[in-house]
Symmetry: C2
Subunit: 327 residues, 2 copies
């Protein structure tokens, strides 16, 4: 690979979101050499979307010296299936509503380079391994805290895809069984995501505000409009009730990680997304709940880390990292 | 490997239990060519235990044509650490009470062949892959239902050991959180093992008997002495209350498997141990609870299988299979 990288020093990353498609050309150290973007929507047919992407890409490909400098392309996309290189039934993508779109193949044909595709959380995990805090690690779990709760699991240095390409849906393990469990976006109840996603945190805020009369900066807001960002701002100002919301969220995450340890015994859990900007406010309750609940043989072994890729370009870096992994 | 197997057609398996150490010499198809056993106890020092094992082994090694016919040895042992080839702090083994015993190395030196070691459930998983119902599968989970609940997880065709060699402790995921959780042998509460092990099933029986006045064959027994075997016998005779105990146990296992699917998306869950002899009485509630609770993308994909190795020689076969896996 050394020699090949010398000749083809870059990969393309595509962070395919519901609103924007962001491209970056990235070197082996995770430096973004050129970037561009188009709107994801506005294309009825996938052929038109790919053509618009390729048009935008041509400009930045020329900037780095032409397609001969590019080893491969990686795509991070919702509902992405790594094994097939397809996007399947993605509700937010007009051209992938109802079917299976062979996006990796289409880009590969249009650009003449290998293309691989996976979901956003898996891309984040590979990104951490290639450029981030998981360099040199062979067993770790990335947990993405955003609109949903996603995960990418690495075992023996490989991303865990499972038999169908859909492994690593740790946002949907059941944390609260039975009727007490909160409804989750997946149609089930009690999932980790229902508590620890951005909307889960906002719901926790509303529940705690309704249950008590305690003072809080959050009382100045319309409860129905409270967001996880409001909780973060209040906690940053020292608001005790906001801190309690983080304690609750962190405890749930820490207990979940204790179960994940029993599964794959990772050397690190890496947290990614807006919520981790709260730092110790969220990381401390995670660690404490983990150590209190984990099986004895796993105690005091795992690291709890904040993503090394966090920031505006994290998703593009994660996607690009998939390109380096293509054999 | 083909040619090597032709010359060295056998592996040794050692099922190292608290009471007996059972040896088998096994061919690539899982046929046991020779077998012997010694008591595990009665040796103060591990050196004496290994010497006694080697003495017993010499006899059966000669039966198959000498040590030159043996490729390797695999050991399935409680608290076995695959990475180090050690047994660590095994409470039931007098010579491994308090420390770390380099058993694989000791056997390797004494016999002059490669030796690898893992815990019983991992050995069962490799056994299923090499000789059993998981032949050709690359992603599956074996769940052993015995005195405890153990597991061996295979992903991408490899056993999942995690960063420290102790991954796959699925008996200790938390199924009932908080104070309601049953105490578990591990010192925590609410673990899957506390409900679905043999002692867990017996406890479920006592709880259901105490809670209701319903008729049952189990009422003829001293509640404190009811075992999982009694439940099995009663269920086999059509006892409704005993069936309800299996329903409860199966539901717990099925819900746990739904979480495991979110982790590694296996193509099959394979159940191993005495309880699976109850057949559909336990397998049906497992499947039903799984399909009712699993994330939509995993529905109707996984197989639920009964071990292909079940029987008196299953543990030896599992241990021997580790021998074929040595690179």
């Amino acid at each position: 690979m050394e020699q090949q990288n010398a000749i083809k020093p870059y990969v393309i990353g595509l962070d395919l979101g519901g609103t924007n498609s962001v491209f970056g050309i990235v070197d082996a150290r995770g430096e973004i050499k050129a970037t561009t973007a188009i709107k994801t929507g506005g294309y009825e047919k996938v052929e038109d979307y790919v053509a618009a992407c390729v048009d935008a890409l041509q400009v930045i490909i020329e900037q780095v010296g032409g397609i001969d400098k590019i080893k491969a392309m990686g795509i991070g996309a919702p509902n992405g299936n790594y094994y097939k290189g397809t996007i399947e039934f993605a509700p937010n993508l007009p051209w992938a509503h109802h079917g299976v779109v062979p996006l990796a193949d289409m880009f590969s044909k249009a650009l003449g380079i290998p293309v691989a595709l996976t979901n956003d959380a898996n891309a984040a995990a590979i990104g951490e391994m290639v450029y981030g805090v998981a360099r040199g690690m062979k067993n770790f779990i990335v947990i993405t805290l955003g609109t949903g709760v996603g995960s990418g699991i690495v075992v023996n240095g490989q991303l865990l895809y499972g038999h169908d390409g859909f492994a690593g849906e740790l946002g949907h393990v059941t944390m609260v069984r039975g009727e007490e469990g909160r409804p989750c976006g997946c149609g089930r109840t009690g999932c980790l995501e229902a508590y620890c996603s951005a909307t889960g945190v906002a719901r926790t805020a509303r529940e705690i505000l309704a249950k008590t009369n305690r003072e809080s900066l959050l009382r100045e807001l319309d409860p129905e409009k409270i967001t996880s960002l409001d909780v973060s701002i209040a906690a940053g100002k020292g608001d005790e009730l906001a801190k309690e919301i983080y304690d609750f969220t962190g405890k749930m995450l820490g207990e979940a990680c204790a179960d994940f340890a029993a599964f794959s015994s990772p050397e690190a859990f890496i947290f990614f997304g807006g919520m981790v900007k709260a730092g110790e406010l969220i990381m401390k309750p995670i660690r404490e709940a983990y150590e209190a609940h984990v099986l004895k043989i796993f105690k005091n072994k795992a690291q709890f880390l904040v993503s090394g890729l966090d920031g505006a370009s994290a998703a593009v870096l994660g996607a690009s990292a998939i390109g380096w992994e293509i054999q």
